[in-house]
Structures are given as C-alpha cells and as structure tokens.
Symmetry: C2
Subunit: 282 residues, 2 copies
C-alpha cells in the first residue's frame, strides 16, 4: 500500500494507472475510520482495479464554531485498517498542500439542494465539500467515487455537481452501516457520553416508525414530519436541528408522499450533532 | 475529422484516446474562427497526438445587454478551416446539451484577479468562463489546453483555476495574432465600420508607445496609465472602458514598474467593445 502526501506525486501515479487501462475507485474520507467507511472501501475493491482512499479533514467544509480542531484523527489506526482491506493507495495531504496561501477558487452547487437541511444549518459547508471533492477527483482521477448514504444530502449534491459539470466519473452510494442497536455509524459518535449514546437511538427509531407509517398508508408529508419530531422530542436530551421529508432527487417540498422521499434528521445531543436519514419509495 | 454534438459521445471517445496513451490538446473557441484561433490549433497540433476544438458560444459568460444573440457564427466555414489544420475532432454542442434545465453548479475564481478589468465591466463573465471550461476539461480530458494571450485575464484566471483545483492539465498561452496594421484579431472585429476599423488601431499604438516609454526608463505606473489614456483619447470615436497596468501574475495594484506587468485595454467603438494587452518585463 502506497501512502502519498503530495498532490503531484499521487496525480502522476494515478495518470500512470489510467494509461494502463486500470479502473480507479476513490473513497474520500476524513479519517477516523469505522465500518461505514470500510464498506465503501469493500464496494470499491469489488468494482475497481485500483482503490485510493483519501484521508483529509477538510477545513473549508467546517463552519466557525464547528468541530474542525477537535475532529478525531488517528492515522496509524486508519492505515492499518486500510492495509487489511487491500487498499492500493492512501492520499493524506496536509491542509497547506491542499490550500495554497492564495487559494481562491470555489465550486458551488446552488439552489434548494444546498439551501435546505445541512445547507441551512451549516452555511458554506457544501461549498467546501464540492470544492474539495473537485480537487480530489482531479488529483485521483477516479472512474468511480464512493460515498455513504449516511450523508444523503452530500451524495445528492455531489451527484448534481458531477452531472452539471460533466466529471468523467460516477458517484456510487453505499447504504448506511449501523451499530447492532441501530445507531448510524459516524466518527462523531465517539463524542457521545453513555447517556447520550443511549438516547441517540431515537433517530433510527423515529425513521423506522415513520417508514412504517408510510408503508401503512400515511401519505401526508406534514404528518410524517410531525411524527418524526414527536418521537425525537420524547428524548429529553435531543435538540432537533431539523427533521424533514423532501423529494429524494432534488429536495423539493412535498405535500403528498407520491414519489421517492428522503426523511432526514439532524439532532444535537449536548455539543454533538448527529445526522441520519432514510429513503422511502411508495 | 469527427464532429461531435453530444457530451457523452465525445467524452467516451476521449477516454478511449487516453487509454491508448494519446496526448489530447483542447482548443476551446466560440467559433467564427480567425488566424488567432488557427495559431492555437497549430500549437496544439505541434504538441499533441489528438487535437480537439470546441465551438460553443457560451451563454453563461455573456451579460444582460451584451452581444450573445448577435455573436457571429459560421459553422461550415469553421469546420473547413479546422479540417485543413488536421484537427481530429470538433465538439459543437447546443446550449441545451451543455446546460440542462436544472443546471445550478458553478466554478468561480474569486479575488482581485476576477474583480478587476473585464471582471468589473462584465459581472459574472469569468464565472461563466470558468464554469464552461471546467465542463470542457471534464468532457474532453485534455493534457494541454490552448488559450490566446489576447484574452490575457481569461488565461490568468484559468491558470489560477487549474492550479487551485488541481485539474490534471496545463494551460498553454499563445501570443496575440495581429492584422498587418496591428489590430489584434478578434471575431468581434467584423462589427466595425470602416472608420471605427481605422481608429481601432489606437489600441495597439497606445500599447506600443507605453512599452517604449517603459523600455526608455519610465517606472511610474500612474504615468504609463496616463499615457495609455491620452493616446487612446486622441481617437474621437474611442470610449475607454479601462486602460490599466497591473502585476502580470495576479493583477495586484502597482506603483512602480519593478516586475512583469500587464497593460490591458478595453475600448468601445460604437457598440463594439475591443480588448488588447501587452506584457512587459523589466
């Protein structure tokens, strides 16, 4: 397994792979890997000749007062995990390597798709995500890029960016991986104390019950939103950032559940903000 | 020579070329080709195995009230000229092919480099240029992309975009091609009536005399700017949009001419806006 720190060297290496006709899979991560990330890697391993995992805690996607400085990092552990998954290369640049002092070029997806949900709660977040992914795509030249369904809006935004700007690659979404008790895996789960960890189960429970209500015939989006809020509200420690139901393709508002919908949650437990979601097609 | 109208088909074709180890040169144009464009093509022919010329009058780089609708177009003539230059492929998409109805992704270089000169006169122009060039780069997968020094600020902005976003390609600037009497070649020269055509020579004359003044020892940027304005002002039909001298790398303001500088002009003759420029290194 190769470990690259410099843009130029991995870009040259990836160019060589392409000339040899090899299919490159990229798994962009911020490190502190869990089973969710490893599922992305395994999916990439299945479909590609070369698997590249990037580990980069990207400063431009964190807002003021967010957890950039304290975001958990453990490169040694990450690289052993990736070696075990037979990854071909890790790309782990510094922030200074990725953003030169006079950096000033941005990629932005505009419209409802970035204005709602995490786009509303975290101004500038998706601009940071689309910009860094543009850079990673240009550096690693993937044929396929793998993202978790856990960050549903991120996957939607990147799919739109790839479509609008004609990146020569395909985004592959990989299903959410959950702990045995249903909590969606996240590097941020490490922040939770024992009581928050217990109460955080309410996210998946709310999504499950809301899906069941839809399956049982409920078609009123407003009532599903209310149900989500009630169930999450039953946890005394949960502070809802959003609990919404939108069109799963473009986050358009819906009244009636008559197409594929995304139920999306962001809930704070103390300082820790967790997200979860579920797609339902009727 | 292949003619492609569809993104998917030329992107697939370019991918095949790359797998075969061929070096692709891209010459992005808005058509209505003149010797300046053909110089770009010849330069590409010299350095690349495959030369792709795009012909696309890009609506997103024109402002309200600009000449998008009347911009000259002549595909038959353009394609014969390119065939003669042994171009391998033309990419000539429609606006609808390039911009789907829900298009909403933009690439923007921010800062002085896009705020000054044409960035000030034509708000949104460079956002349109960087967005369409991102698309063309992603579609045609060039190793080298050729741009004219005539659009000096455009070349600077694209070089910055490529550097900041790590596009796997190099921008090659090709010197300005001039008519025998010194007028810089431009598709927009066709708009000029006989009298404007004569008076438009003042642009190159101003640049020549300003360069001579620098070579003769003038180091005060303000005085050079004044000289440019005086010479252009001597033409009764010329209406100055800008006549400036800046740092040639980033368009920073300068007082003293102690590095490589860009003298840049935009001047209207009636409804026709012409640009010209000259780099001077002391």
């Amino acid at each position: 397994m190769r470990i690259f720190k410099e843009i130029q060297s991995i870009q040259n290496w990836c160019k060589e792979q392409k000339v040899q006709g090899r299919k490159i899979g990229l798994v962009p991560t911020m490190g502190y890997l869990h089973e969710g990330h490893l599922e992305l890697v395994r999916e990439a391993r299945k479909h590609c000749d070369i698997v590249v995992v990037s580990i980069f805690v990207n400063p431009t996607q964190f807002g003021v007062g967010e957890d950039f400085e304290v975001y958990p990092r453990d490169f040694q552990r990450d690289s052993s995990l990736l070696e075990r998954e037979q990854v071909d290369a890790i790309f782990a640049p510094t922030a200074g390597e990725m953003y030169l002092p006079d950096f000033s070029s941005w990629v932005e997806v505009t419209g409802e798709i970035t204005a709602k949900l995490c786009g509303a709660s975290r101004p500038g977040h998706f601009r940071g995500v689309t910009t860094v992914c543009t850079k990673l795509f240009n550096i690693c030249l993937p044929d396929l890029a793998f993202f978790g369904q856990k960050d549903a809006q991120q996957a939607m935004v990147l799919e739109k960016m790839v479509r609008d700007l004609n990146f020569p690659l395909q985004i592959i979404r990989v299903p959410i991986v959950r702990e045995a008790d249903g909590l969606a895996m996240s590097s941020r789960n490490v922040y939770l104390d024992a009581e928050d960890r217990k109460q955080a189960l309410v996210l998946n429970q709310a999504l499950e019950q809301a899906e069941k209500a839809i399956r049982d015939g409920e078609r009123d989006a407003g009532r599903i939103k209310q149900l989500l809020q009630e169930i999450i509200g039953s946890s005394p420690r949960a502070e809802i950032d959003y609990a919404e139901i939108y069109d799963a393709y473009d986050l358009a508002d819906i009244q009636q559940i008559d197409r594929k919908v995304l139920m999306a949650l962001a809930v704070k437990f103390g300082k820790t903000r967790l997200i979860d979601n579920r797609l339902v097609e009727v």
